[in-house]
Symmetry: C2
Subunit: 527 residues, 2 copies
Amino acid sequence: MVRLRRARCVRGAEALVGSLVGAGVDVCFMNPGTSEMHFVQALDSVPEMRGVLTLFEGVATGAADAHARITGRPAAVLLHLGPGLGNGIANLHNARRAGTPLLCVVGAHATDHVHHDAPLQSDITALAGAVSGWVHTCGHTRDVADDAVRAVAATTEHGGQVATLVLPADVSWSEGGALAPALPAALPVPPASSRVAAAAKAVREPGAVILLGGPALTAAAMDAAGRIAAATGARLIVETFPRLWDTGAGRPRADKLAYFAEEALAQLEGASSLVLAGARAPVSFFGYPGVPGDLVPDGTAVVGLADAASDAAAALEALAAEVAPDAVAEPAPHDAPEPAPGPLDVASLCAAVAATLPEGAIVIDEALTAGALLAPALQTAAPHAQLALTGGAIGQGPPAALGAAIAAPDRPVVAVQADGSALYTLQALWTQAREQLDVTTVLINNSAYAILRVELARTGAGEAAHSGRAGRMLTLADPTPDFVALATGYGVPARRVETTEELLDALRWAQAEPGPHLVEAIVPALG
Amino acid sequence: MVRLRRARCVRGAEALVGSLVGAGVDVCFMNPGTSEMHFVQALDSVPEMRGVLTLFEGVATGAADAHARITGRPAAVLLHLGPGLGNGIANLHNARRAGTPLLCVVGAHATDHVHHDAPLQSDITALAGAVSGWVHTCGHTRDVADDAVRAVAATTEHGGQVATLVLPADVSWSEGGALAPALPAALPVPPASSRVAAAAKAVREPGAVILLGGPALTAAAMDAAGRIAAATGARLIVETFPRLWDTGAGRPRADKLAYFAEEALAQLEGASSLVLAGARAPVSFFGYPGVPGDLVPDGTAVVGLADAASDAAAALEALAAEVAPDAVAEPAPHDAPEPAPGPLDVASLCAAVAATLPEGAIVIDEALTAGALLAPALQTAAPHAQLALTGGAIGQGPPAALGAAIAAPDRPVVAVQADGSALYTLQALWTQAREQLDVTTVLINNSAYAILRVELARTGAGEAAHSGRAGRMLTLADPTPDFVALATGYGVPARRVETTEELLDALRWAQAEPGPHLVEAIVPALG
């Protein structure tokens, strides 16, 4: 456990930070303000805690989400009152949907300052409740460390959740804090034999589909799923936005469930059953007139093997032991084809990323319209992990790349990033530069909110999606953001490329040099 | 009223947009997503509504806040579900504290899609409630226009507030909408003779202070206050963060209340009474150990003349008629001294802004540590209006400059902007470029969260505020953001300056050319 000055005279902030370190939380992504100054000060007395400064709270929360996904341990952020929490909410929403264990410490006014309704006073717990499974306001310095270890334990419940601890400034600055020992993490629910038996029956029928998600996407879980598929002929499909998926060469092939409802329905059509392993029954991302929201085809049985709070790998192992005791998963080959030369398009961009992907890389996928081509291209790339936009709140990619790189300093991070989304949280590049992280961002500049053009066209607007007053709300031209200039402004070396050859050169340059890089790839918009 | 296709067959979105225009809301700052596509589509059928695209929701909400402050009419934003609202919350918080009439339309999943708990589903009303005085979810297409005009009227209640209308996608896309006529705006509360009499008694005593804020900072209200001061000797003090203050040469002098509690207490010490005109009784921005949160000195009587929901100008006129029937306000001279030449510091920067300020300019003050020198320097600059960070949620400046420039295309906007705050919402520069707005941003680059260094030093951290692990959380160096590159990336011409002479040159360049400009001024940090 962390050594501190005599327990009697430590400040609340020191007891909190020290106890977090004791509970295994030793990185905190932060954007502090006045009410958090004693927490910041405690970084000097508790050197085991690493503070990582971000320029915007949404960067901190997105980084913490990715950090926890990669390490498998709770991550932490420090935010400044209600507005700071508000700025972090979009990526906390993504963390909530990912089932990420994330501790959110929100500084607040001193207890006896609240009644003054000072300018920054707001309803922090109302905001926190919208994204957190657990919310508590510290009431006294002597309890702050206990509150902290309870909060860390709470992040591991229900398969992983956001726990928010509101920390009044006086609780933080007063003396009388003491360290608290870590509490045990909640354990995933072990496999139930009845569920395994039902799944076994389902996958032995022709036409079964196993939908993998959440905790069922680790290398071990995927290997078990691959053995089941090899033995039974069941198809493997991975949820559209995986929290962390070990994939690539040497691992079993699996398609991703398509984003658009019509395509997902077509993928699942004719399935005899849908066995859910760590995934929920699929629903459409948005509702559309005349399109069903429930994507389970009529006549397809839904069989729940393991939910997101379960030990999905153990459940898949148990299922494999039952239906595929001697089977071997058929691994995807390492066979990333050479990308087509010449002017870049989305297909050649994805192929170039696949062809150059380093082994063990972490791929941050906020490619949006380009994502449909990225996953198939990566299927036969070097083995790697993919991390996606679980909650649909865009602006996750640049922060997630930062958090993943902090979590795994020995693994290269490749972020395949749409332009419109990047512009939500591009400040993350600055922290990538400050921490000298091995992140290569491939920025797909198509000068549009391309996915919204598709959506506007689906409303019946047709050509107006590309012109007129409505279409102008979906274009990123006039002026087109210059991502080389923006990256340079944040201290990240950058290049612009327009051909496959230039992209390949730039990727080699980025991977050869230490530190972060950005490659702005000019491509025509799909749709 | 707006002409639409036969009322029977218009979509909900068209009825909504058309009715907003009828109610005087004809600009909408937006960052739409799939659930808002029919609202976007309606921009083509209701050309009276101007859509202004922003790259981030916090830009939209900050711009709308400033737009309403300048026009005096309700402004509108369009946001995308809970995460989009989350991104906009910080500047909605500022709008709430400013008493800004602001309509917040938040798109939501189609009514029958909610039960699927799709990835973007979240508790929108909980988030909205934290910043809104009025929240309603549209239930049916036939009612959407009525809901909209009620929402617009609600924004004018209680002296101005945020009203949030949650718009499910099916309500928006279905036909059966009809236009609704505008409802009357709530009127400010007229002056009460008993309050005027009490205030008259107070200001006739020596040592009275009139604290002006909110609606009491218009030219008319300030002139009345100036006459009262001239006749009675009462001191005029303006609240620390005014929502919109008509000031400069020709208007009565008034000091701003200091930001730090100790300084504000010193300013008010010995006041016989504090007459509140549109302002609340002053409280410390933050609580500190051993420092009172209530800034009214012992023995000072507090006299409420007019609150933020009152017709403060009429109340001050009534008071002036009582105590200063023949008085003339003593106007500040137009006498902005030449700034000292040589390497820039905060004093010469503020003097240069004052010396070059165009008449009628709107000054956006998010200067933070530099703000203490800015207001005195501007006191004798050309007559202008100042707009400040009412709620303390930083990242308001660049969006506010955008919104003010859209509201008043014939008035130059000068934004005096701290670096750390700018980096929250710098995307606003892109919309400034797209709309070719007359905004000059003077970016004060001191490579630090300078105000937090002051705060950290106040915790007793001392030298650690500038070094060590804690100090590193407050510095913007390593790398220092390059604001010229960042502005260029967003399409805004920019220059870096290090001397007074260069700054004056750059300000003349920015004011001579149309469109937005950014001047990055390198200055040493205070504190």
